[in-house]
Symmetry: C2
Subunit: 424 residues, 2 copies
C-alpha cells in the first residue's frame, strides 16, 4: 500500500514550527511495517490545498492529512476535502453534542466559531478525538482513502494509534496484530549492534520479525517489529528473538520500551531505600537535571553540587587539602570527592563526575577526559574515559556515561566496560 503524509498549515510551511508531526506519523507507520512513499507540505491556502489533495489522490492508496481542523478561518481541511471529493459539508449533530459536552465539563461556554468543527464532508467516517474538539474523519477522494487528523500533537498521536493504524493495517491486508519491542543501550554504535545481532530474525518464522535501529547519540535504540494473526501469535513469535537480543546486547541494555535510563536508576535507588548525592563539573547541572525533577525523586535525590573548578568541588563537600591542578586529576581524585560527598551530604550513594577539558577552541577533534566515581558506605568504584567530538558532544556523552555507570553499579555489572565512543 502506497501512503502519503500531507501536512498543512502556514506555521509548518514557513518553518515557524519544526514538523515533528511528520516524523512521528512516519515512524509509527514504519513500526507496524507500513511504508510512507511521499510527503507534502502546503500552507493554509485553498488553491494549493486542493491541488495537493488531488495530486495525492492520484499518487497513493492512503493519505494522512495533518492540520486544518481547527475553528478559525484559516482551518480549511473539511472545506477543501468536500470540494475535492465533490460532496457538500453537512452538520454533524453527533460531534456538535460531543463538543458541547467537552466545554461543559470544563465549565466553559462553547464559542460560536466551534460550530465549524462539526461541519464534515457528506459520507465521511468519523474518527474519534477523545481529548479535543477537532473531529477526525476518513473520506474517499478519487481512488485514495484520506484520513484527516488534528495538528495538536497529543490529539494526533492518539488518533493515529487508536483509529488510523488499525484501519490502514486492515486495508493493507497485513496481519492485524503488530508489536514493537524496543531496547535502549549506551556504548555500542549502530554498526556494531548490527553485527552483534546478526541472524536473530531467523529465530522467528520467516518475515515475521524485523530488526531495526534508531541512533540518537548518545543512545541507540534497537527495535523488533513483529506481525501476527493476533497479539498472542505476535508475542509468541517475538519471544525467542527478544530473549536472544537481550542476551547478546547484555550489559549494554539500559532500559526497554518506555523505560528511560534516569528512571531505571531512580527506581533502583528507591527500591533499596537509597539516597543520592551528585557532584559534577563541566556537565554543569545537566546530570542533576536528568534525575532531580522526576516524580518520586524527592525521596531519593538528596543534593546536587555543580561547580566549574575542583577547588570549589573540594570546598562544597568539605574535603580538606588542596585540589590537584589541571592535568593532575586522576580517578583517585574522583573517588575522594565521591567519598567526601557521601559523608558531607549523608547520602547512601554519591556520584562524582570530574572532567578535564582540552585546551583551545571548540572543534570536532576537541575532547575531554572523564573521571567518574561512585561511593557507598561499603566501597568505591571508578572509571576513566577519554572522549572526542566537541564540547557539546563530550558533555552529552559524559552525562550518559555517568548515569550508565550508576545503573551498572546498581545492577551489579562492571562499570568500566569499554564503550565505542571512547578513545584509548
Amino acid at each position: 500500500m502506497r501512503i502519503e503524509i500531507l501536512c498543512t498549515g502556514d506555521e509548518v510551511l514557513t518553518g515557524a514550527t519544526v514538523n515533528t508531526n511528520f516524523s512521528h506519523i512516519s515512524q509509527k507507520l514504519g513500526d507496524v511495517g507500513l511504508e510512507v512513499l511521499w510527503g507534502t507540505t502546503v500552507g493554509d491556502d485553498r488553491e494549493t490545498l486542493l491541488r495537493a489533495f488531488r495530486l495525492a489522490s492520484e499518487r497513493v492508496d492512503a493519505v494522512i492529512v495533518n492540520g486544518g481542523l481547527g475553528p478559525t478561518v484559516d482551518d480549511l481541511s473539511q472545506e477543501i476535502a468536500a470540494k475535492a471529493a465533490g460532496v457538500e459539508l453537512v452538520f454533524q449533530e453527533q460531534w456538535y453534542t460531543r463538543m458541547e459536552e467537552f466545554f461543559r465539563r470544563r465549565s466553559r461556554v462553547m464559542p460560536a466559531s466551534n460550530r465549524k468543527q462539526a461541519m464534515l464532508p457528506a459520507g465521511a467516517e468519523l474518527l474519534d478525538n477523545p481529548i479535543g474538539t477537532a473531529c477526525g474523519f476518513a473520506l474517499d477522494i478519487g481512488k485514495a482513502r484520506f484520513f484527516f487528523t488534528p495538528g495538536v500533537p497529543r490529539e494526533l498521536h492518539r488518533m493515529l494509534e487508536e483509529q488510523i493504524i488499525p484501519r490502514l493495517l486492515a486495508r493493507s491486508g497485513k496481519p492485524a496484530a503488530s508489536l514493537l519491542k524496543r531496547f535502549h543501550s549506551y556504548g555500542i554504535g549502530e554498526s556494531r549492534a548490527d553485527t552483534m545481532l546478526a541472524g536473530v530474525e531467523a529465530l522467528a518464522p520467516a518475515g515475521s520479525v524485523k530488526l531495526g535501529f534508531r541512533a540518537h547519540y548518545p543512545q541507540l535504540e534497537t527495535k523488533l517489529t513483529v506481525r501476527g494473526a493476533d497479539m498472542e501469535d505476535a508475542r509468541g513469535k517475538l519471544a525467542p528473538v527478544e530473549q536472544e537480543v537481550r542476551k547478546r546486547l547484555g550489559n549494554f541494555v539500559l532500559a526497554e520500551d518506555d523505560q528511560k535510563l534516569e528512571g531505571v536508576v531512580l527506581d533502583a535507588l528507591a527500591a533499596r531505600g537509597a539516597s543520592l548525592a551528585v557532584v559534577e563539573t563541566f556537565t554543569g547541572g545537566a546530570l542533576a537535571a536528568r534525575i532531580a525533577p522526576l516524580p518520586g525523586a524527592e525521596s531519593v535525590f538528596r543534593r546536587g553540587i555543580v561547580v566549574r573548578n575542583l577547588a570549589q568541588a573540594y570546598a562544597a563537600v568539605g574535603l580538606s587539602g588542596s585540589a590537584p591542578a589541571t592535568g593532575e586529576v586522576t580517578v583517585e581524585t574522583a573517588e575522594a570527592v565521591a567519598q567526601a560527598a557521601l559523608r558531607h551530604i549523608a547520602a547512601t550513594h554519591a556520584l562524582a563526575v570530574l572532567i578535564e577539558l582540552d585546551e583551545g577552541v571548540d572543534r570536532i577533534e576537541f575532547g575531554g577526559t572523564l573521571f567518574i566515581a561512585i561511593a557507598t558506605e561499603r566501597e568505591t568504584v571508578s572509571r576513566r574515559a577519554r572522549m572526542l567530538g566537541g564540547r557539546e558532544w563530550v558533555r552529552l556523552g559524559a552525562v550518559e556515561m555517568s548515569l550508565d555507570c550508576l545503573r551498572r553499579y546498581l545492577q551489579g555489572l562492571p562499570v568500566d566496560e569499554r564503550v565505542d565512543f571512547e578513545k584509548v
Copy 2:
C-alpha cells in the same frame, strides 16, 4: 516567485530524522521576504525522485533540493537531476581537485567512492561548499531553476546563506540587500507584543520593513525584516523602526540578534568581576545548566546547589533553624537562602529559586508558586509568581523567569514587573 523545498532521503521520509533542514530553509527565505509555496519529501528512490523533480519543475520557479549529494550508492541527486534535465553527467575536474585538497589537509586519503561527488549534470553551475565534499549546484529543469544542497546542516546553512539566497533575490527582482533584526523577550505573549508594536512599520518607507514574531515558550522573538538597494540603505530604513521597537518593548528585551539570555547574564557578571552562586529546587539543575557550561563561566560561576526539599537547601548553605513546612514558604525564605548562599559560598551574587508545586497528578491546570531572590553584599531583592500549565511548563517558565530576574537586577531594572505568563 514561487519556491518549492524538496527534501530527499530515507532518513527524513521514514521519520528517523526530524526534518529541521526544511524549517531552516523556509525560515531563512521568509526572513528575506521570499515565500515558500510547497514542500515535498521523498526517499532515496529513482522513480519517485524523478517524479518529484518533474512535478516541482512544472509547479514553481525555483526549487531547493536538499540531500542526496553524498558519496554512497543511495545518494542519487546528481543522477536524477541529469535525467530530469535530459543531460549527461560530466566529470568536474575542478571539484575533484578541491576534494583531494580537502582530504590532504586532513592527512587522509580520499576513498575512491568520493569520485562520484565530482560527477555533475552538464551545464550545471557550481555552488561552493567550503566545508564539505558535497558540491552544490544549480540547474534548469523545465522552466524552474533547481538548487541542489547537501543534507549536512552546517554545510546547507552556509550554502543557503552565501550562494542561494543572493541568487534567489536577484532572480526575484527584489532589492538585493536585506537585513534581519531580532529582539528576544520574556514575559510578553505574541498578541500583546503585536498590540504594543502597532504601527512601527510606518516609521520606514512603505513596505520596506516587515514586522514578525516567533513564539517559542518561554521566549518571544520579534523580527524586523528590511529590504534596501544596498546594505547602507537597508540599515537607514531599519534604524528608526529598530529604535522604536526597543523603546516600546522596553525592559522586556533581554537580548538582541544572536545574543542569549544566559550570555547577557554571564557578560554582565563578568564585566563587574562578579561571581555567582545558585540554589534551585524543582528546576533540578536546569538553571545551573544554562550558565555553568558556557565558555568563560569558569571565572564567574562559583557553585550551584540542586535540592528537592527545603531542609536540604538550608543544610547546603549552612542556614540554621528549621526550614518552613510545605505551604509556608515565602519570599523571605528565598531571601534568607540567597543571603546564606552568598556567605557560605563566598560569591558576590547569589540566586535562590524555591518552588512549591501543587499537589496531585500532572495536567494542564497543574501549577506551582515561585519564590525568587537575589542577594548581594549590599541588598536583597525578591519576587513571587504563580504559574500554571503542567510540570514541564512550570519548570521551563521558572528557569526563564529566574534568569531574567537576574538580568533585570544586573541592568538596574525592576525584577517584579508583571509578566503575561503568571496568574494572579
